[in-house]
Symmetry: C2
Subunit: 276 residues, 2 copies
């Protein structure tokens, strides 16, 4: 999905919501356990209930990998089911030397190789350009680089001062030399809304993937105040807050209600800045 | 495998060789393609040919993930086949927030969950303690943290000066506060042998996993000069140099010959320092 197509979807749906599919067998409603693939069955119903309200889905690879072969089968089935008008993001946070990153790219961006071809993949920057450039060979695919995350551990290294700002700023500035805002997004945690203004200086046009709204405590309004652009420039993710809104038979309706509430707030923010 | 068991294996086998199973369907001998699982068949023969000469095997997860479900099946079969007197390392370079790292730990350290339980996993430090502490819950398992890698991209961030040394030094110093040398190893690329002395100041007792000998250009003698300790303290990995020594029917014999040549050099180094 191109940048312009993504912007068009945001305008059309009046939403920049990304639904995180961190689907945990221990948290889904128990009646689903009788289905052949409970994880996929859960995801399918969540997708059906929310697809007109969001522009992105983001399965978190770990939640599938932890179940071995059957987990991978659920992930592939989920990827196949994702609606084509939503950008599909695999949250994999991979990062390795060039010849290994080539293989990770095949794993997530090359259907002929692995059975999956997501529109975007999250990657971790520690190993430098090796971790990123192999994915750029896949035209039309997005690379989403971890910059500033929403967890407590972000304080350990991401805020370290370097000659060129904090480490997360150096990451953004360096990565900007590898590709433009049509291929690169950055992960910026919502709990750091005051840092958004700083980040926008270095990445004025890039889309930012923003986890941490909801369960992790971030505020949508704060994120928009500092992070939104004339093209929107944000994909705000909510995982647990939406998909586990209920664990009864009404879970999909409850997920829809949560997604709708967020979409309505997003519509207000998009109007404020004149995107719609 | 405990630290003492690992040291005992090193003394017994007179080797600190790790064989990297970066097994690529495009590089294995073509006659193997007629087997039901060519990747596993290749690994099995490599293992049979080298297991008395090495103390560790390290499958690189990307090379299996890129083949989807059948790749994961090959990885699980390989894990099952690994000899119990060798430390089994999954080279996965994962790193995420706590609740996601819990799932990655299940994926690679918890057989009941995923079908695999490696002795050790490589992780990337960018997200801080979240990326590491969840794995510590698995008693007796090792966490191997990326510090200084052997690729060109290492220059982008790992060498950044911080208030507390280069970023890779800060990573080691911080991670040392989370666990001791009985649980943590560090990845240090062999192409950086002069930095080993500096790293040994911060990590005098930790085992270092050293890729980059062979195909990537590092020298075993240099690594030992600066990195070896009285307990050895090194696992030196070779992947391509061993497993692709030949791509004919003699590939396993050729791999053995390469592994033997390295083991013999290692025996010399172990004697020099008095480990054996």
């Amino acid at each position: 999905m191109s940048r312009q197509e993504l912007i068009n979807q945001i305008k059309q749906k009046k939403s920049f919501l990304c639904v995180g599919l961190d689907t945990d067998i221990e948290k889904i409603p128990s009646f689903l356990l009788s289905y052949p693939d409970p994880i996929f069955e859960f995801n399918k119903r969540i997708i059906d209930a929310t697809k007109d309200l969001c522009v992105a889905y983001k399965p978190n690879s770990a939640f599938y990998e932890c179940r071995g072969v059957k987990g991978l089968q659920s992930l592939i089935a989920t990827w196949e089911y994702l609606p084509k008008d939503c950008i599909s993001i695999i949250d994999a946070k991979r990062g390795d030397i060039g010849n290994t990153s080539d293989k990770y790219a095949q794993a997530f961006l090359d259907e002929a190789s692995s059975g999956m071809s997501f529109d975007a993949i999250t990657v971790t920057p520690y190993m430098g350009n090796d971790s990123i450039t192999p994915y750029l060979k896949y035209e039309g695919k997005w690379i989403i680089i971890l910059a500033l995350t929403s967890s407590v551990g972000s304080k350990d290294f991401q805020y370290l001062p370097t000659d060129d700002g904090h480490l997360y700023e150096t990451v953004i500035k360096k990565a900007n030399t590898w590709a433009g805002a049509d291929r690169l997004m950055y992960v910026v945690g919502a709990t750091k809304s005051t840092e958004f203004a700083e980040i926008r200086k270095h990445a004025p046009d890039n889309f930012l993937l923003v986890p941490g709204v909801g369960a992790q405590g971030g505020s949508l309004q704060d994120v928009c105040q500092y992070g939104i652009t004339k093209d929107c420039g944000l994909l705000v993710n909510s995982s647990r807050g939406i998909i586990y809104a209920s664990n009864g038979e009404d879970f999909a309706d409850a997920a829809r209600a949560e997604a709708l509430a967020i979409q309505q707030q997003m519509e207000v923010e998009l109007k404020k800045i004149g995107v719609i």
